[in-house]
């Protein structure tokens, strides 16, 4: 395996949930790819669509890092394959796609985050839990326009209507983010069967409580089952254990080793504190 700028350990879990017979979620958890696809369309169609997309991306597994152009080209091919699915074998079906891909930006390890649809990518970094992806959903648009607050959104009858997907008549572009990876980062990639049952605080609590990424993924899926398990549930938990940076920057050598990590990852210091003067 090629040298990766981000060394990770990861865990994954998926379950059809308590209500559905078929698991239409597919995922890949193999460095540098950590992606979840949530298929839409019955009679195995959604399952085939999500598996098709993941299969296309699995060709990139084992690389050290990927560029956005590689990811984008793979997505285009995956979309072509989904749209070409034959009748009875997935025609008309669609799928979401979200997750992180390890990227190398000038020697620095990055999380290249991708999203199409309402599956989600979260990041727990230095105790701070944030949702990186922004749902492509009618409800999200209503939230953005101020017509709906977040609490009402969880009960809104339109929460299952997504506005972008792969297949299913959608040809929209994905959203991308480039987030610098930090040692200790924990990424959560999940289908809406998880985020629909557990709110952000509950997700964070489990991610903080379970040290092992596999235990965290399993527990997240199980807790979603306990909360109703109304949809297929998939959770990937990815921990950055080592992140490559460029050659040590000026000034680091004079710092005690212990504080280097704090230093590089820490917040910007106000000038009065830093003593830089202005």
């Amino acid at each position: 395996m090629t040298q990766s700028p981000v060394t990770v350990v990861h865990g994954s879990a998926t379950d059809p949930g308590l209500r559905r017979r078929v698991n239409e979620d597919s995922f890949i958890a193999a460095s540098p790819l950590f992606l979840v696809a949530d298929g839409m369309g019955g009679h195995s169609a959604g399952e085939i669509a999500s598996a098709t997309v993941i299969d296309e991306f699995s060709k990139l597994a084992g690389r050290g890092s990927l560029t956005i152009d590689e990811v984008h080209a793979t997505l285009a091919e995956a979309r072509r394959r989904v749209e070409a699915l034959p009748p009875g074998m997935g025609a008309g079906a669609g799928t979401t796609l979200t997750g992180v891909v390890i990227a190398d930006i000038d020697g620095e390890g990055y999380w290249l985050t991708i999203n199409l649809g309402d599956s989600r990518t979260y990041r727990l970094s230095e105790g701070e839990f944030e949702q990186i992806s922004v749902d492509h959903s009618v409800v999200q648009e209503l939230i953005d326009s101020g017509e709906l607050d977040a609490a009402a959104a969880t009960r809104d009858s339109r929460r299952n209507v997504i506005t972008r997907a792969i297949g299913a008549g959608s040809d929209s572009e994905p959203d991308y983010w480039l987030i610098p990876a930090e040692e200790g980062d924990r990424i959560l990639v999940c289908s809406d069967g998880l985020s629909g049952e557990l709110d952000s605080d509950a997700l964070r609590e489990v991610l903080l409580a379970e040290r092992d990424p596999q235990a965290a993924a399993t527990r997240l899926v199980h807790e979603a089952m306990l909360h109703g398990g109304r949809d297929n549930i998939t959770a990937l938990v990815v921990d950055a254990v080592r992140v490559h940076s460029r050659a040590p920057r000026a000034g680091y050598d004079t710092l005690p080793g212990e504080s280097v990590v704090d230093h590089v990852d820490g917040d910007t210091l106000p000038r009065a504190v830093a003593g830089g003067g202005f």
Partner: protein, 414 residues
């Protein structure tokens, strides 16, 4: 399936599909409910629903359980707490317990020849004590053991649960029986086999319920009526659907005079449906079309150029973000900015500090709401602090000071 047990204190629900052990203090009514639902083939889902319905969804209040139920030719086991399952398979003996797991341990095992359920790791069966037989019911036991029937004796059942959600007020009077799934091409997700000759419920075909948004160019085989029924039914469960973004992709209602002309949803039993009426309502509600406007303006004929104090020269052929640990947030399409990391030993510079981009014939600099600000030094003028998040036009010769000795010199539209 012959089941023997030794008396004890743990309620164990025994059915022809397998057994479920509960905690000693389980209310008898709850044990009976679980026994009934498991006998109906509702599996682990029924156990979890019954337990959370009684004890709540908090993990802390969830009592121990051990579930070992036939699923097709496999055995699904799930164990929480101190209960122990010993399962003999073709590959040897597997011991499954909930020890060391916050929730429960779950496995699917094949080629199972013998199952022993122990209420604790120390509960032993006497070697010469065959125990008492139980065919079907709830017993108080210390150990239970059985030899699963040949796979053919147990009808295949859904992987997770029956597709019969119970608590819906709008439940159709005639519940559609799950329809056999076509074989999926992808390997690992085994298709679930349903009973043949499924009872087909009458399909309401007034066109208001079963209309599906699909691209017009789709060529989809007509679905059997049962599909439409199941689809309407599953729609109650709010499956995710995609709303195509252009009106032209909406398949308008077709003559719905018979079941055969049900909208060609081809197995859309998971409810990938919204009605046209719903879709229209969404549009009239003013939902903006989801396709965002293209972010990138037409490329300028010649990109701008800047030079960093580090010696690096940057072409502004795309947006540049400079900072200590710069990030790019939510860009649609591949027009991600060029991220340039600079050293800031004093942590004076913010992670994402300044954005530079070309707009028309100008170069625009924006301070990204930084902690310590950005200073613009223009020849012949006093240094000016950039307003946070406010794009400012810069001209050749301008020097932008990020702090910590890092500056950006505008070299102009080259």
């Amino acid at each position: 399936m012959s089941v023997n047990y030794r008396p004890g204190e743990i309620p164990v629900a025994v059915t022809r599909r397998g057994a479920v052990a509960l905690s000693a203090d389980t209310p008898p009514a709850l044990a009976v409910r679980i026994w009934t639902e498991v006998a109906e083939g509702r599996g682990l889902a029924a156990v979890l629903e019954a337990l959370t319905g009684t004890f709540g969804t908090s993990l802390a209040s969830l009592p121990p359980f051990a579930v070992a139920l036939a699923e097709g030719t496999s055995l699904r086991v799930a164990v929480r707490g101190s209960l122990v399952l010993e399962v003999d398979t073709a590959g040897g003996r597997e011991t499954i317990s909930g020890a060391g797991v916050t929730t429960w341990t779950e496995r699917v095992l094949d080629d199972v020849s013998h199952v022993t359920l122990r209420t604790s790791a120390t509960a032993q069966r006497g070697d010469d004590d065959p125990g008492l037989p139980i065919a079907d019911g709830v017993v108080l036991a210390s150990t239970v053991e059985w030899v699963p029937d040949a796979a053919s004796a147990v009808p295949a059942e859904p992987a997770a649960a029956s597709a019969e959600p119970s608590p819906s007020p709008a439940e159709p009077s005639s519940t559609p029986t799950p329809v056999a799934e076509p074989i999926a091409e992808n390997g690992d997700a085994a298709p679930v086999e349903g009973p043949q000759g499924a009872v087909i419920a009458p399909v309401p075909l007034d066109g208001s319920m079963v209309e599906t948004l699909l691209p017009t160019e789709s060529t989809i085989a007509p679905a059997p009526a049962a599909t439409a029924a199941a689809e309407e039914y599953d729609d109650l469960w709010g499956e995710t659907i995609a709303r195509p973004t252009a009106d032209t992709t909406v398949r308008e209602p077709e003559g719905s005079d018979s079941a055969g002309s049900a909208p060609a949803v081809a197995g859309d039993h998971d409810g990938e449906t919204i009605s046209v009426a719903q879709a229209r309502a969404l549009r009239t509600a003013g939902i903006v079309d989801s396709v965002p406007a293209p972010l990138a303006e037409p490329r300028p004929p010649a990109p701008g150029r800047v030079r960093l104090s580090t010696g690096q020269t940057l072409l502004l052929d795309r947006t540049v973000v400079i900072g200590r640990r710069p990030r790019a947030t939510r860009v649609t399409g591949t027009d991600l900015p060029h991220l340039v990391a600079v050293d800031s030993p004093q942590q004076d510079i913010s992670r994402s500090h300044i954005e530079l981009r070309v707009e028309g014939d100008s170069i625009v600099a924006t301070d990204l709401r930084t902690t310590n600000g950005t200073t613009l030094i223009r020849q012949g003028g006093d240094p000016v602090r950039l307003h946070p998040a406010e794009p400012t036009v810069v001209v050749p010769g301008d020097v932008i000071d990020l702090g910590d000795g890092v500056t950006v010199t505008v070299e102009g539209i080259s």
